[in-house]
Every structure is written in C-alpha cells, then in structure tokens.
C-alpha cells in the first residue's frame, strides 16, 4: 500500500462514515415497526420514507443486517416467471434493480449476464415454450433456443450431460443478472437511515400485542414499543411470528443449501439452471463458482450444512462440466426457506388489522427485494394491497385460488 494512502487512512480529518446510525434505545412508539433487517424489510423502510414520507419507523433485527437469507442466496435476478401475476411483479423488480446502484450511490456490482434454463426432456421444453409465450406477452425478453446456442454461450459444457440427459434446448432470458447481495441490504439500510428510519440490530421480537383484532404493540428484548402497524419480513422465521398473532398459514420451512468453489479465472459468463439435474451455477465477480441445488428433503428450523448436499450437487455439476473435477469446494452454507404450496409468495394484509406480511419467499426472494419493499410500503401507507401483489394474498388459499408458480422455480423441489 502506498504510504500516502496509509497516511490518509490514519488521518482523523477524514473518518470513514458509518453506514448506519447506532441508536442506544428504542423509542416508546413508532408509526411502523418492521420485523426483519434483511433486504426486504430495509427496502420497505426505504420506500416508506422516500415515497410516502413515513419516517417514524424502526427496523428490528434479531442478528445483524443482511445476515439471514439476504446474505445466503445465490444472487440471481430474473423475471421469466410463469403466471401473469409473477411476470409483471418480477419485471417491475428487474427495472428497479437496474437503477438501484445510482439510487443508492453505492456499487451493487449489478452484472447483466443472461440466464439459461436448460431443458433435458420434451416436457421441460414444453414448459419453457409456455413461459416464453407468457413472458413475451408482458414484454419480458425470453425465448426458447437450441442446444447450439447454449454451447456457444458456455463452451465448456458437455451438451449430452455425460450421455444420459442431453440438453434439448433452453429458455434464454437476456435480462438475467447477478448482484452483490450484502450491498443491497446496506444500500437500502443507509438510504432509510439517512431519511430518519431507526435500525436496531441485536433486537429480538418476543411477542406482538393484538387487541380486538388490531395490532397494539411489539414486545422486544430491548423493551416495549406501541405501534399500530407491523410488517413481518423475516423469511424462514415467518411461522414463529405468525404464531404470536395467531394467524394460520400454509408456510412450511425447509433448509436450502448452497456452496462456492475456490476462485478460478473467468470462464462462465451466463447463469445456468438445470431443473432436471437440480442444479444451478454462475461465476461471481471474484471468480468463485456459486452453486445451488434443490431444497433439503425434510422440515428443519436450522442452518446446518450436509455432506449429502455437496455430493448430490457436485455429481450433477460434473455431468454438465466434467472439467470441474479438480476444482475445490471452498465453503457451503444454508438458509431457512419459507415454502408455500403454489411456489408464489404470501404478501399483503392479514386477518389482523395493522399486521402486514411479506413472506413465503421460499427460494425465490432475493430478486424481488426492490419490488417487495416498494409494494409493501404502498400497502402499509395506504392500508390497501398494491395492485401488483393482489395475486399473492394470504386468503387465496381459503378461496382455493392459488397462483401456480412451480413451473418457474429454478430447480424442481
């Protein structure tokens, strides 16, 4: 390091500003309390302050900012969904993503890579055509391409997948991107903080007081808060919070694991997903291969890693990319995914007045971070569900009106 730079770093005249203000104590009341300091919660706080002028807001985080599923996902952003509700919703999210670095004045390393969902069977190819048609109808760039296009985009691929599940084609989605996930939480957090929102880390919610069907307050590990509006944005902890307000839901929790390899030279530009082989892969800006697979096979409220996962994932990965056999796995981790029966989220109002849900984000929540914040902020400020999320309401289950999104899940679960 040059000496001049070191002198500058040690000079007290140029302190590095903190991303967030530290607040010693909670106030006794807030207009809105947001449970969960991940991307979704902080994004909602940001848009509440920026677009609705509601700044008497606190965000409560049990651990540290972005330490839950915001920091545990594989950072893929896309909008090539299957249902009209899903496509329009995620398309709005992708548009927000594209301006976000400038919005925050913070580099999110948003990288547009292109996204291939590989089809190894006729039935998979049929679903790809279906998705391409729905996408095109709503102006989202998606098309079905042949195996030669996949081979050209990723020359190292074994197009026959070890001879037993040859790639017949793919759904190509040009806007598919990756971004630095921690930076998203920090960017939203800093933006909210600058506008007066309080972020309280290491603050756990112990209970929620409901009287006459209305939210009255929140009991936390740092004292009581009275409030009329609570947003629950806690990913895999949703059922615990729902138990506090006595609301039933179809949400169930399975861990989702992921891993990265040691860094290698850039060789893979696009994001590749194979539903049939249950794997997906992209290469990060640091050169690590970011890889994931399907959900763990049974319910668990924990984030332990397993060898079964690494064995299963790598065996399929080697079918696609045999040359990776000498590449080492660097680390693996897990997050708790709140799954729903139709693979669509659960968002909006609930039977409890003033209790709002941003949940059911299973394995597909990172890409929706901006649009979730924006639509939930609208829903909280106006007490009316934003038009983009009406298809995701909790009462769709009681009405037998599901929003079937399973065909667009990245890997078969």
């Amino acid at each position: 390091m040059p000496w001049r730079l070191l002198r500058f770093a040690l000079n007290k005249k140029h302190p590095e500003p903190r991303m967030f203000t530290f607040h010693e104590k909670l106030k006794s009341s807030y207009d809105v309390v947001i449970i969960g300091g991940g991307g979704h919660g902080l994004s909602a706080a940001y848009y509440l302050a920026r677009e609705h002028g509601i700044t008497n807001v606190c965000v409560l985080e049990k651990g540290y900012i972005g330490g839950g599923n915001t920091g545990r996902n594989t950072t893929i952003i896309r909008s090539n969904y299957l249902t009209p509700e899903g496509v329009q919703f995620y398309d709005e999210s992708v548009r927000l993503w594209q301006d976000l670095s400038e919005d925050f004045d913070l580099n999110l390393f948003y990288a547009n890579r292109g996204h291939f969902t590989l089809a190894h069977t006729d039935s998979a190819l049929r679903t790809m055509r279906w998705r391409a048609e729905v996408n095109k109808h709503y102006g989202v760039a998606s098309e079905v391409v042949g195996p030669e296009v996949v081979k050209e985009a990723a020359p190292m691929i074994d197009i026959t997948c070890a001879g037993h599940s040859p790639i017949l084609g793919a759904l190509y989605h040009a806007p598919g991107s990756v971004a630095r996930h921690d930076a998203v939480a920090w960017g939203y957090g800093r933006g909210a903080d600058q506008r007066g929102v309080e972020i309280h880390q290491q603050t756990e919610v112990l209970g929620i007081d409901v009287e006459g069907g209305k939210v009255k307050g929140v009991r936390t590990s740092k004292g009581y808060i009275s409030t009329g509006k609570v947003l629950c944005a806690v990913a895999g902890s949703t059922p615990r919070i729902l138990k506090m307000v006595d609301v039933k839901s179809p949400i169930y929790i399975h861990p989702l694991q992921a891993m990265v390899s040691e860094p290698v030279k850039p060789w893979l530009d696009p994001i590749l997903v194979s539903g049939s082989l249950h794997v997906y892969i992209s290469q990060s800006a640091r050169g690590e291969l970011v890889m994931g697979a399907s959900l763990d096979p049974y319910e668990l409220h924990g984030t332990r890693s397993t060898l079964d996962f690494v064995e299963g994932l790598t065996s399929h990965m080697l079918e696609m990319f045999p040359f990776l056999s000498n590449v080492k796995v660097m680390r693996q981790w897990a997050g708790m995914a709140d799954m729903t029966p139709d693979f669509a989220p659960v968002m909006g109002k609930t039977p409890v007045d003033g209790f709002y849900l941003d949940s059911g984000w299973g394995t597909w929540g990172f890409k929706a971070t901006p649009v979730c914040g924006k639509t939930m902020a609208h829903t909280i400020a106006t007490d009316t569900a934003h038009p983009l999320i009406t298809g995701f309401s909790l009462d769709r289950f009681r009405n037998y009106a599901l929003t079937g999104e399973k065909g667009a899940a990245s890997v078969g679960h």
Partner: protein, 85 residues
Amino acid sequence: MKIMTCPLNGPRPVSEFHYWGEVRPMPNPATASDDAWADYIFNRNGAPGLKKEWWCHTPSNTWFIAERDTEKDVVLKTYFYEGDQ
C-alpha cells in the same frame, strides 16, 4: 441427524428415508365446510417444535411415525402407527 431408526429395520442412514409431513387428523370431506377443508389441505403448523411425523423407509416401503424436534433435528422415538389416539 444422519441415522434414523426404522421400527422394522433398525438404524439406517437418513438418505434411505422419505419425509411425509406432520400427522394430522383429516376432517370428513363429505361433511366438512369449505373453510375447514381448505384449512386441512393448505395450512400447516410451520413453527418449530416437537412434532409427530410420517416417515417411510423407502427400500422396504415401511411407513411409521417419528417424534422429532424440528429445531434441533433430533428424533426422540419412532414407532408404527396404531390408529388415531
């Protein structure tokens, strides 16, 4: 959890087992209201805790019940189903 005890075959690797969800009483579909039926088919007790669950040892197709702590991932006991108790 890496080993599970099948009531028929004894301790086996957990990869040989299939999880089939919590044991829940089914309302009579002929008489249940639409709300009660929707509650049964969709809603789940998603919070962590000690749960009674259906599991199957797939190589021998043996169905049984496991009592498991879903937060610590510890199986307390496994036994055959003996009707609703």
